[in-house]
Symmetry: C2
Subunit: 218 residues, 2 copies
DNA sequence: AAGTCATTATTGTTCAACAATTATTTATTG
DNA sequence: CAATAAATAATTGTTGAACAATAATGACTT
């Protein structure tokens, strides 16, 4: 019934669509996804939908329960801890590879501008997205396809965790200035200082999120 | 037509089966996988097979060409470089987390024993497998689900690269002793020395593989 | 209210079909 | 004969229906 124009396969599209629903907070943890419903809603067959499900399951955004279908993953405290551990490893390694005219630096600058603009409009969801774009650009300093891919994956999980908590502004907003500082250090080639800043930044961010989590649980 | 007993889904089984065919060297780079053929051979439907294909594609072991199907990935030199970059990041970080009675250490010991035994039987493919088991255990020192998963993935790619070259014994054999040294340093708590040893080990291994690659190309 | 059994809904998997695209063969022409 | 164009075959991309296996629901009994 579908004459396709776009290059990508349908299952790939489905994968991205659901992924976006999750990272944008339209789908929340523990929510079950019915194959019948979703396949009708996204206008694809169940088989195609299931291909997308598998991808998202492997990525950790969906959880599979045999014969009971999939539901949106619910990041546990230990996941937060693990994710930040990975972030420290990947991001710190990435900035160690930085050099003054790396093409990622302008991209980081753009992300900061975008975040500032969205904060001015009080679009906190957008600020969160821009912040993640900054860090994705940062990771691309590593020039490593595989490390970038892993970060792409955990960034989505992290987004899910933030949305879980209702993503209040205070969780993202103060970091824009930190990002700016960090970028300045990198453009100046002050790697060691940048490493320290980023490390502290990540530790603080983790603590904030864990605190919010414990309150949310209680 | 299938009454299933095993817990895992069929597509998961298919995923593992094909994965094994690749890591064990039965399927070589650039080989095209016909849906009709393979689905008959593995006794699953095309739809189920395709679910497995997608997983392997996301993992980088298969390459997808729209309307032309999938073929086994062919690791390029830049992939080798990237993989070793990731290995250094992950493995060195992992051993920094080591402590004397970490449960991963006995597993590493077992892998060494297994490798020695298989070397004695001149089973080089097996030695390669055991070597990878050693390093997988090493990475589990990190206690990070996500870093372990990434390593699981790149280990398979690496295996593919080795098989591509015909996996001559000299590529693996001399490393058993290095593994042993490394493990002794870890059990003794001499982390710094272990880091140095592992780093040099990985650099040397990368160089060896890249050299073999350039010869293979020529 | 707790436990058993029948009923219903959902997932797991297959199959057959057909549109869209690519590969191959045949025909045509210079 | 070589090169190219057209026709044909094969493969992938996607669907919808079917049915078995399992889980969820609800009625019934005590």
């Amino acid at each position: 019934m579908k004459g396709k124009l776009g290059q990508q396969s349908l299952s790939q599209r489905v994968y991205q669509q659901i992924r976006e629903l999750i990272t944008e907070g339209e789908l929340l943890p523990l929510q079950r996804l019915s194959e019948a419903n979703l396949s009708e809603q996204l206008e694809v067959s169940r088989n195609t939908l299931r291909e997308g499900f598998r991808l998202l399951t492997q990525e950790g955004l969906l959880v599979y329960q045999p014969h009971r279908g999939v539901c949106v993953a619910c990041p546990q405290v230990q996941d937060i801890i693990d994710i930040y551990r990975v972030r420290r490893v990947i991001e710190i390694d990435a900035i160690k590879q930085s050099y003054p005219f790396h093409p990622a630096l302008p991209t980081m600058r753009q992300a900061i501008q975008k975040a500032l603009q969205l904060r001015h409009q009080s679009n906190w969801q957008g600020v969160g997205t821009a912040n993640m774009e900054f860090h994705r650009a940062l990771v691309s300093l590593s020039d490593s396809k595989r490390l970038q891919h892993l970060f792409y994956s955990i960034a989505a999980e992290l987004r899910l965790a933030f949305n879980f908590l209702g993503s209040p502004e205070r969780l993202h907003s103060p970091y824009i200035e930190k990002n700016d500082q960090l970028l300045m250090l990198l453009t100046a080639g002050k790697i060691n200082q940048a490493v320290t800043l980023l490390h502290d930044y990540l530790v603080a961010s983790e603590r904030l999120l864990l605190t919010a989590y414990s309150q949310h649980t209680a």
